[in-house]
Amino acid sequence: MAERIAIVGVGQTHHKSKRPDVTTAELCAEAVERCLEDAGMQMKDIDHLVMGSFEVADGYYSPDKWIIPELGVVGKSGLEMQNVGTTGGVVAAASFNSAATGLFDAVLCLAWQKMDEAAGAFGRGGGGANEYWTGQFPMSPITNFARRTYAYMDRSGCTEEHIAIVRVKQDQCAMKNEYAQLRLGLTVEKVMQDVLLAWPIRRLHMCPTTAGAAACIVCPEEKAKKVTNKPVWVEDWLTCHQGGALTMAEDPTASTLRYACNVVYKRCGITNPLKEIQAWEVYEPASPAELRWIEEVGICEDYTAWKLFEQNKVGIDKEVPFNPSGGVTATNPIGATPVVRLVEAVLQVRGDAGEHQIQGKIERALATGYGGQGENVIMLLRKSL
């Protein structure tokens, strides 16, 4: 029987486009220090570490060699993982798995990315994911979401202006989040006049390149109750990595998010997601992705989410409280991004999100990680047991 587990502390860096003042390892230490302080714990209390970044976007191999000594955790048990954009998601899921075994008292979950060190090369593509199948195309998240959005607009009636409204809403949220990287004061006109990367994707629609790290500490129930008086329970979690096969063959707009959410909802008895989950931090690598993801998590019918934006129903303290932190188009330390979502969801449940806190009781929050061609990691949090 698995242990019930809770997150007892969270920490993240103030995310920036460039951090020449720190090494990757020092950046990680910054997030870990904040996390330990938040939990009121010390490194000696941690007995297992799960860590990772998307190595291609950093330019380091075996980053544990550089980071473990910097954190002062030499000799502790641990795992290093990587999985493109979902890296932070699989790191979190593995830390949940580890804590749920009951083998450890406190598991440190750490993910990072220092994209300023690879000159944003990842966004400019290359077939490297699988040279035989994708090498003839300059594939990247930009082309992935150009393709998805073309099909979405074709099916839904959504226009470029609607997508610009989504981006403005994301920016309005980010403006209230001191940790967010891009806080721009955007208008619909400004978004629509921005540089076109691959129609209908403009530069402002894509997630930026970010230097940042995020961490949390996960404990089994007994330890969690000793450490903090406001544990955030991890009610359920799921990794779903059948992306290309499960979704794109059927529907070029789809990800595995719907499938993964349905599995988790069923296990947790959730029948009305919008009513039963009060805060959402869902990994949207491009602003139009937020439209499809709102549909896939079960908030509205397929190809109608753009109407919610047209009616100004999405945002902090609105009918659909989606990505109150500003989300991924404001901040994207790619390997760490799912853990940033998790940290933000924890803050919402605790009521500690500050200016971007959703008002009212947050009983449940859902955070996700996204990567590749539609893979997802679901992390469902709960305030009470």
Binding site: V22, T134, G135, Q136, F137, P138, Q242, A245
Partner: protein, 158 residues
């Protein structure tokens, strides 16, 4: 003046000037590669629901049953999606940044499998979902068993 001047943080630049040639085994997908050399697009077919998939696979990703039947997908298909890149991106074959004039499209072939390709029509405004497209191949002697043996897809008048 102090002997300890203020240190500004800095980036140190590195390049990776090495060339590595990888030799990736194609395994079961070798039949697909050989088909391309003959100007044929072959896909595996699921014995449970008859779905044809590219990339071909030994087992169906949905039903987890062995796929032994291969089906020629024909030379034509319907356009599913399209986009055109407006900024320099890396050419994976050369390692250089370059501009890309042709749209990239996804096509559902006559046999039901789907694949990506370059489009002959440069103006994305003229591309509509459901349009009939036809494969245009490299000359046989230039084919290497790779997906870019198909040079591009061109719209077919109906």
């Amino acid at each position: 003046m102090s002997t300890e001047e203020k240190q500004e943080p800095e980036f140190i630049q590195f390049r990776y000037p090495r060339q590595v040639t990888y030799h990736h085994a194609l395994g079961y997908q070798s039949k697909f590669a050989n088909g391309l050399k003959q100007g044929r697009i072959l896909a595996t077919k699921c014995p449970v629901d008859g779905r044809c998939t590219i990339p071909p696979r030994i087992v169906c990703p949905f039903h987890h049953v062995r796929q032994t039947e291969w089906v020629d997908q024909g030379q034509r298909g319907r356009l599913i999606s399209a986009f055109k890149i407006n900024f320099p991106m890396f050419n994976s074959r050369t390692g250089e940044l370059q501009n890309w004039e042709n749209p990239i499209i996804a096509v559902e072939l006559e046999g039901g499998a789907r694949m990506d390709g370059w489009c002959a029509e440069m103006d994305p405004e003229k591309l509509k979902t459901g349009m009939l497209m036809e494969a245009v191949w490299r000359p046989e002697e230039e084919r290497q068993g790779r997906a870019d043996d198909i040079l591009y897809w061109k719209p077919v008048e109906e």
